[in-house]
Point group: C2
Chain length 335, copies 2
């Protein structure tokens, strides 16, 4: 099987090129979302441990079985460790044979940003030119990058309660030819924005975006690390907008819509991608993509990097599975 | 994190010595089974695919979170692939950080055999000297090996419907100083046996062992690859014996006891290991260990090989998790 370490993924991005990689990833996501009903979808399996949560996220179709291991430990930064770390494995369904073990901390940021941009491509105003980012933590620059390949962005307006995170964002963004507007609060950040991403990280109910702050029809991606009890948008804003989710059953538990009634229902992403449903900001007014991250997105990026790594001959072959002349002779391994 | 490939596990067994490894593994299993109530136990998450099943088996306590990926594809041997292949990961609960990615096909055979021998140590006749193996497939020699370190075995009686598997077993066993008795059926194999392991692989209800075949109190380990609809023992034999299981909720679905009433209840392994309950063949008559394989056993062997691999400096350090000066600066990976 193939092992892809962090350096391999970085090399792969260099070889393929960031723009080309994001466009291929968006294509792959679209292709997999179109085949929504071919997938065996399961709720993520969460273990609540003392200082956080550890999850396994499996999904499969006839070809591959993919799973991601991912943690969420809000206090990790105090130990200089990442809040979210992830690994993943891709296996062949026909035999169960593992094909790939891969870093997924970076891949998760990439697939999350690519999914955001893909959704915006379908439902946001085509002429969107101003992106507002509320929260400039680990995901923020990836969000910009993915949107920049889909829209002709002219300005990024940004705000974070952490000055240091604002400064880090400004430094990382300096290499891009884009107008950067540091804002002193979220209200200022969203002025004139066509695309808004909220990606804050506190594990509690808070309101970073209210209905009153929105002055024109806009695309909002409520991205912030979702879990039961954690929301970012005002309920009135949710009630006033058209909402799109990945997988209603999961988003009801983890997403913004946990603030709404139990019988709330809305369009799922696959309906838009397969063009069963057409939605856009121009005709519909404000659209909120209440994203929580779904296993299908991990599946898509794992199969893409597996193919590209082979194409560019990246990674290391590792010997994890016995290959025996006589399959009943497992004991021959001890000879 | 540490990567342990198949060769590393083989080297580890050579360095530690097979007997010493099995004895340490049995100690580790006992120690973990004693702390049964400290573990967050979840049912395995199974995906039924076209030609088999793919499962994730997670478990955690305050220290580690372990999971195993394992498939079961009965037709794989026709493609010269193993029916069961496995990989596993061990992570630190306090931070969610992955510590170890490891082959587990071989480890599963080792932990299964060690658990069998551990249970026999508690409940079988201490003077057991004759082991009967019904089914001489991939697990059989491991079973012998583990028992041989606990009991003073004098004879192994064996039978398999597959002549080739019988021959393979005889060849592998030739290096051990033990009387080998090839039998022409299961009835002959169990004559005079003190310890009986049934490990057949057909995915259907069959009866490889009946009450009439047992002529004295004996320890029986019903080991064969368990799943709903697959059993090996006659119902009358189950009704007549004392049964021990790993985890009643799981064994009711997968084990021999699926033949019994829904309200059937029996002793769980941890009660014996923690000496809340004392059972043995001499006082109780025939005891059946209806094993299905439980995540706790994977946890035990993963933490053991993780410690031993460090002690013997085996394996390869791999870079799967970003280590950042500023944990909010994930984007620095793309610089």
């Amino acid at each position: 099987m193939l092992l892809l370490q962090l350096e391999d993924i970085k090399q792969l991005l260099t070889n393929v090129g960031e723009k080309n990689f994001f466009l291929q990833l968006i294509d792959t996501l679209q292709s997999d979302y179109k085949r929504w009903f071919e997938f065996d979808k399961k709720p993520r399996l969460a273990s609540h441990v003392d200082l956080g949560v550890i999850e396994l996220m499996p999904i499969s179709n006839a070809l591959y079985y993919a799973f991601k291991y991912v943690n969420g430990h809000p206090k990790n930064p105090q130990k200089n460790k990442l809040t979210v770390m992830a690994t993943g494995q891709l296996s062949l369904c026909a035999t169960g044979e593992p094909l790939l073990y891969c870093e997924m901390t970076l891949l998760t940021a990439l697939r999350t940003a690519a999914t955001s941009a893909m959704v915006a491509k379908y439902v946001a105003n085509k002429n969107s030119s101003v992106l507002a980012l509320i929260g400039t933590g680990a995901q923020s620059e990836f969000q910009y990058l993915a949107y920049s390949f889909i829209f002709d962005l002219q300005e990024v307006r940004y705000f974070d309660i952490d000055d240091h995170a604002m400064q880090k964002f400004a430094t990382n963004m300096a290499k891009f030819e884009i107008k950067l507007t540091a804002c002193k609060n979220a209200t200022e950040a969203v002025i004139g924005a066509d695309l808004i991403t909220t990606c804050t990280a506190d594990k509690c109910q808070q309101t970073v975006l209210t209905k009153a702050m929105i002055d024109k029809p806009v695309f909002i991606n409520a991205l912030g690390g979702d879990c039961p009890g954690k929301t970012e948008l005002e309920k009135a804003l949710l009630e006033d907008a058209t909402i799109v989710v990945e997988y209603l059953a999961q988003t009801k538990i983890e997403g913004e819509i946990q603030q709404l009634n139990d019988d709330f229902s809305c369009v799922e992403l696959h309906q838009i991608i397969s063009q069963q449903v057409t939605l856009n900001v121009q005709t519909q007014g404000t659209i909120i993509y209440d994203s929580v991250g779904f296993a299908l997105e991990d599946y898509a990026i794992l199969r893409l990097v597996y193919r590209l790594a082979q194409q560019y001959q990246l990674g290391q072959q590792i010997d994890m599975i016995p290959h025996l002349t006589d399959v009943k002779d497992l004991f021959s391994l001890l000879k």
